[in-house]
């Protein structure tokens, strides 16, 4: 499986953010998108996720499941957690498992891998920022998707949480997964750097 982008140009609000960006990542490889604030890291991830159309250039996936589009084979972990405060932790997770479809594993098991099993029946509205992040990570584990698009995934995670997530990412890569992560700090895994430069 090979994810590649050629000559991508990003325009936001009539202003060019970056242009002529090329990238390539294969199975088992992690790509760390780095750059200053406003340089277009999130925009690039949203383009790969199919949520934003590039002004120029193309993004393609080779060797994935032929009947599914790129965005249907990807997990997107954005700034916003996609959690409903009125639903309990396990209800939130079970909803995404049922809605997103595809190969899924036990929701309770993923909760215990991110250390949230004790809070399963707590309404998600009572979770702290770090716990919300952990719950979003549990979504990545419950539903199998080969491509993970992560937007500053370790924000709000404590030190133990960061090393837990690094282990989970390593397991995902070892299974032939692919990770593209926007980050300011270190992800804790071996990752190739992809600098995104802002035009001044």
């Amino acid at each position: 499986m090979r994810l590649s982008g050629r000559g991508i140009r990003c325009v936001r609000g009539g202003r060019e953010v970056f242009s002529g960006l090329d990238f390539e990542a294969c199975s088992g490889e992690a790509l760390a998108v780095i750059g200053a604030n406003g340089s277009g890291k999130t925009s690039l991830l949203r383009m790969i996720a199919g949520l934003l159309a590039p002004a120029e250039g193309s993004i393609s996936l080779e060797g994935g499941e032929p009947e599914l589009t790129l965005s249907e084979q990807a997990h997107y972990l954005g700034h916003r957690d996609a959690l409903k405060p009125a639903l309990s932790v396990i209800e939130n997770l079970a909803f995404w498992r049922d809605f997103l479809g595809g190969e899924a594993s036990d929701a309770k098991e993923s909760l215990s891998s991110v250390g949230l099993e004790h809070a399963a029946f707590l309404p998600a509205g009572y979770l702290s920022a770090g716990q919300r992040r952990r719950l979003s990570i549990a979504r990545l584990l419950t539903i199998r998707r080969s491509i993970w698009l992560l937007d500053e995934p370790i924000n709000a995670l404590d030190v133990a949480g960061q090393s837990m997530f690094a282990t989970l990412m390593d397991v995902h890569l070892a299974r032939g997964g692919l990770i593209v992560a926007a980050t300011h700090g270190s992800l804790g895994i071996t990752a190739r750097e992809l600098p995104v430069a802002a035009f001044s």
């Binding site: 916003r80 996609a82 409903k84 479809g101």
Partner: protein, 221 residues
């Protein structure tokens, strides 16, 4: 199917739990209808004549009031991104969301109608006629309103825009809903206006999900 069932179940659960807002529409409907006899005065014949129109107006405004919640909540917390990316066809997901919204906020209006009919001096036949037309017509209001709700999400802060966009489209539903109720009360032929009302609902079931999904697909950023 599991995916759509899960979406409908989740939206219903959220609407019915504390702070979900399923009751806002009914309470607004109740307020409008209860105030009307005080405004019009104690003329029973006049109230009976205005009754169906008042009930329909109240239901129309009540469903507009809750419509902007249809997509904004999912947009604000990022769920909409995942719904768009999901393996379920977006048109079907939109239809499922509209159905859940109607069950949580449209159906209660129909159920409240017989009680509110008493306040407007409507007899059993008239009340059931109005309730029947509302049952056939409120889904059209939700499914047409969904188009406005989807546009409002992508244009940011479009609450007022929603009302301006949706009102003209819902006028035919209002006309034929009231016409069918009046026909049942005055003994005119009930069939033709009621059939047109049902046809409007069926058209909205087809157009609404496609238009909303197209708006969401092109407007997300």
């Amino acid at each position: 199917m599991t995916a759509l069932g899960a979406l409908i179940g989740r939206d219903l659960k959220i609407a019915l739990r504390v702070g979900g807002g399923a009751l806002i529409g009914v309470l607004f409907f109740l307020t409008v209808v209860v105030l009307m006899p005080f405004a019009v005065g104690p003329d029973l014949a006049l109230l009976t004549r205005l009754g169906p129109a008042i009930l329909w107006l109240g239901a129309l405004l009540a469903s507009l009031l809750t419509l902007d919640r249809l997509f904004t909540a999912d947009h604000d917390d990022g769920s909409l991104d995942l719904i768009v990316m999901g393996r379920t066809t977006l048109e079907l997901a939109c239809a499922a969301k509209a159905l859940a919204h109607w069950l949580a906020s449209g159906l209660p209006l129909v159920i409240a109608t017989p009680v509110l009919g008493l306040l407007l001096n409507l007899d059993a036949t008239s009340t059931s006629a109005v309730a029947l037309t509302l049952l056939a017509g409120t889904p059209a209001l939700t499914f047409i309103g969904m188009i406005g709700a989807a546009l409002a999400v992508t244009l940011h802060r479009g609450g007022l825009l929603l009302a301006v966009l949706v009102l003209p489209l819902s006028i035919p539903v209002l006309i034929f809903g009231v016409a069918a109720s009046e026909a049942a009360i005055t003994g005119l032929s009930f069939g033709p206006p009621f059939s047109i009302l049902c046809a409007l609902s069926l058209i909205s079931f087809v157009i609404g999900p496609f238009a909303a999904a197209a708006s969401l697909r092109h407007g997300l950023d």
